[in-house]
């Protein structure tokens, strides 16, 4: 039918079907696919979901403090983040949500936040654990977060980056090197579990020969 119509057009015939030249039909041919594309593109757009990033350590033990630093990586749109302190036994202490504008950064001093939420934990042995940063976004990495731990009055501090929580069930290991620089150096190892499951593991130490 189409081929016949073209032949008629190229031969200069004046007997082309009226339907072929109808403006409304042309509109249908171009507008409907366009509308379909728009609808499908809209349907395929991802929607923001609850996200969680995890930093392995915070502390409010005597002589130490922790600052939670967060940055909104989005070019447009604010992020509302709820930092949640977890104690070593898994108990959670949600802190006040904080809204960060696009490309903005915010900081929370854990000692000040605990005064409001759990003052009994300040300067106590065992006041340490991990931090979860919860927010709603397209991806967990729309938020960059860090737990910055420092010792009062000393040039001693550490940054612990937060990473998206993994649900992967595979086995594996964490590997590192112990180093006794001199007898006065304290040497702390912390293993944190970001999941809601109990995970068992084995700790192995070896000498430089691997024994």
């Amino acid at each position: 039918m189409i081929r016949a119509t073209h032949q008629q057009k190229y031969s200069g015939s004046h007997t082309e079907p009226a339907l072929e030249r109808s403006p409304s039909m042309l509109n249908c041919r171009y507008v409907l696919p366009f509308l379909l594309t728009v609808v499908l593109a809209h349907a395929a757009q991802p929607t923001p979901k609850p996200q969680e990033s995890f930093a392995p350590y915070w502390t409010a033990e005597a002589g130490w403090d922790t600052e939670l630093q967060m940055r909104n990586n989005l070019a447009a749109g604010a992020l509302t983040v709820t930092p949640v302190l977890r104690l070593s036994d898994g108990k959670e202490i949600p802190l006040d949500p904080i809204t960060i504008s696009s490309r903005g950064a915010a900081s929370i001093l854990v000692s000040e936040a605990l005064v409001k939420r759990a003052p009994g934990l300040l300067n106590q042995p065992g006041s340490f654990g991990s931090v979860a940063f919860r927010h709603t976004a397209l991806h967990a990495r729309n938020l960059a977060a860090v737990a910055a731990v420092h010792m009062h009055g000393q040039p001693i501090g550490y940054h612990f980056d937060a990473y998206p929580v993994s649900r992967d069930q595979t086995g594996g290991s964490l590997e590192g090197i112990w180093w006794q620089r001199n007898p006065g150096v304290k040497d702390i190892l912390v293993i944190s579990n970001s999941s809601d499951k109990t995970i068992s593991g084995d700790l192995h130490l070896s000498d430089a020969s691997g024994n």
Binding site: G176, I188, L189
Partner: protein, 92 residues
């Protein structure tokens, strides 16, 4: 955990060695930190911990376009076990 105490209890000699925390499942949900400090000397250091995935494929052993084994070799690491060493949460 205080690593110095564990090293002493294990009877290990020397002033450095290896740490491994292995889990048969959900290992990526674990994260570890290891830090040193001496407030008298004003010294501190953060010791890197790495993920090791024994099931990682060869093509996944890249770090900034370079084979991770090569990076390990440049860093003086020598480990003949199969598997992949990655920087912290490189694969996340």
């Amino acid at each position: 955990m205080i690593v110095n105490d564990l090293v002493r209890k294990a009877g290990l000699s020397g002033n450095y060695g290896g740490i491994t925390f292995a889990s048969a499942s959900f290992a990526p949900a674990l994260d570890g930190i290891h830090f040193l400090y001496d407030e008298t000397a004003g010294f501190s250091a953060l010791m890197n911990m790495f993920d090791r995935n024994p099931a990682a494929k060869l093509e996944e052993r890249t770090w900034a376009g370079q084979a991770v084994d090569d990076v390990g070799a440049h860093a003086g690491l020598a480990d003949t076990r199969s598997g992949c060493w990655l920087s912290r949460r490189h694969s996340a």
